[in-house]
Symmetry: C2
Subunit: 337 residues, 2 copies
């Protein structure tokens, strides 16, 4: 219960109280087996009495393992990455590591800053949601020897490792689903600007799959500015204006799809009879409220857990079979297609 003048109880204080040396206290904490039971109990009592909390930063400085993993996320809002971060954090804590988080707002300059800041903590691993990095960041990262895991995507040449799925294939899968359900003139609605590279990948897969069936006029709209639902609404409007006979729309996100659905309602279009609408992400309410949104489900938590495990493994000397781990995706067919 005693509080030192410095405010923090040190290992030395515990050692003194237990009548042992610092290193014995350290062993009780890190390798209890190497300490005789009686001594161990005495040390543990001292720890409890003093309310001692070991200084991990000091420990890390000596041992050269920070037990910190950094995650650089574009944003938590929109909930795309929220479950991934939950999974990442949970798995790390189970293994005595902690999670350092930074947001980038889809800016690669901020990403570079965040990466540099994290490297200042000498992290045991780094997780990145973006895969478009500044040259500077790439070099710093490569030189640092810190295990890097890029997530939510499977770049052709990952910096270190990758855990995600093929956005391209997901787009293609949705195109095939729409074709299989009888649609012949599907369009794509994405968003312009702000790191929508993943959306573009989905579009490319979508367009390629259509092209294989002879449908080569790539119908697409990508409104900028406004909320995602507003963009979805405008996207559908734009598509219909230019290609009035469009019979299906694949939106790059569920939020966009929601906007498109609402716009369809306003225009008196019946879904899915007059037009099919599909989203991406399978957000929390996609199946609710009579919505029944057809969409693509990504195992977000698993991405986080897998990325964490990968870092843990690599640091334990276990080399993974592959630098890329594909967690896959699933087309969830509901009632809007």
């Amino acid at each position: 219960m005693a509080v030192e003048s410095s405010g923090w109880v040190t290992m030395g204080d515990v050692a003194e109280r237990a009548g042992v040396s610092k290193i014995t206290v350290s062993r009780v904490l890190r390798a209890p087996d190497k300490v005789r039971e009686e001594t161990r109990d005495r040390v543990r009592a001292a720890i409890a009495d003093l309310g001692y909390v070991p200084d991990e930063a000091a420990g890390g400085l000596s041992s050269r393992r920070s037990r910190i993993v950094g995650a650089v996320i574009s944003t938590l809002a929109g909930s795309t990455f929220a479950s991934t971060v939950d999974g990442l954090g949970a798995r790390l804590r189970q293994n005595g590591h902690q999670l350092l988080l930074a947001g980038t707002d889809y800016s690669s300059a901020k990403e570079a800053d965040a990466v540099a800041a994290m490297l200042g903590r000498r992290p045991d691993g780094l997780v990145l949601t973006s895969t478009s990095h500044t040259e500077d960041a790439r070099r710093t990262l490569a030189a640092s020897r810190v295990p890097v895991v890029e997530i939510w995507e499977l770049p052709a040449e990952p910096i270190g490792y990758a855990v995600g799925f093929s956005n391209h294939d997901a787009g293609a899968a949705m195109a095939r689903h729409l074709l299989a359900t009888g649609r012949r003139r599907p369009a794509f609605v994405g968003t312009a600007g702000e790191g929508d590279r993943r959306g573009r990948l989905r579009y490319e897969g979508f367009a390629e799959a259509l092209a294989q069936t002879g449908t080569t006029d790539a119908r697409a709209a990508a409104p900028s500015a406004g909320t995602h639902t507003a963009r979805g609404a405008r996207g559908l409007a734009a598509v219909l204006e230019r290609w009035p006979d469009t019979d299906a729309v694949f939106c790059a996100s569920d939020a966009l799809a929601l906007g498109a659905l609402s716009e369809a309602g306003r225009r008196g279009l019946r879904v899915p009879d007059d037009i099919a609408i599909a989203g991406f992400g399978d957000f929390e309410f996609a199946g609710e409220f009579g919505l029944g949104l057809t969409t693509v489900r990504i195992p977000g938590i698993r991405i986080g857990e897998t990325a964490a495990q990968l870092i843990l493994d690599v640091n334990a000397g276990i080399r993974p079979d592959s630098r890329s781990i594909d967690v896959g995706f699933e087309v969830v067919e509901r009632s809007t297609t």
Copy 2:
């Protein structure tokens, strides 16, 4: 560009290359004004050449300021706290601090663990979403002298500081809104279990406001298990079974309200004509899809930014006027009431 055998360039390496001592390098980093321009440039060149990234943990060990702030969040999923964490992280990084994150899944045992783990980093501040802590955690926290900010609530006796709003008053405000729009027999739907203390506070405010107008039969249901929307649906069903003349339902969250709306639809009840339905949170889609959900909006980002600023200020010696900062809330009237 050179990489030491250890993998990390140290301040000593930079000093050597620039032909100065370590401390001069340190000054260039922390207090550039105290170094002659010529020397400064030479040091900066060396830093760039070597790709030097200062070790913050080592720096913190000396300076006794970690520049880390910890946040213990129940969960990121459900998006309640996502924007708060975004705001917190953004404000911290602007000021050269980093965010350490831990999730608790609404378990106060995990919270205690997380708090202890964070204290191991000697954080410059700690942010907690829960306000029901184990006795152990409270004591450890109080003894640590780390500035603690509890958020999303305004406890009567905060451990350190609090940034949030009155859940009680928010419930009361919604009751008054329902009464003002002509409802006379409103009920409450919450969820059982898992840290729903905040929901209970809303209920209490709700019930008290009704009692003041003579409406004293506290109608409420709190289904457990299942998704939140499923619970909302069952909650409405339970309320209607017991009190068939209920003419309004205030749900403890928007997800619950969504479920209630869907259940109302299934029962052929018109909203708001036959029954008014209100939620809490103003989640992303509350105003979309013709939904027009009446709800309560909480300035989540601002809570995060304010908590960060509070910690920064306290550490800079600025005492805030009050230990509790009320960011308020807003009843958003749409078309379901």
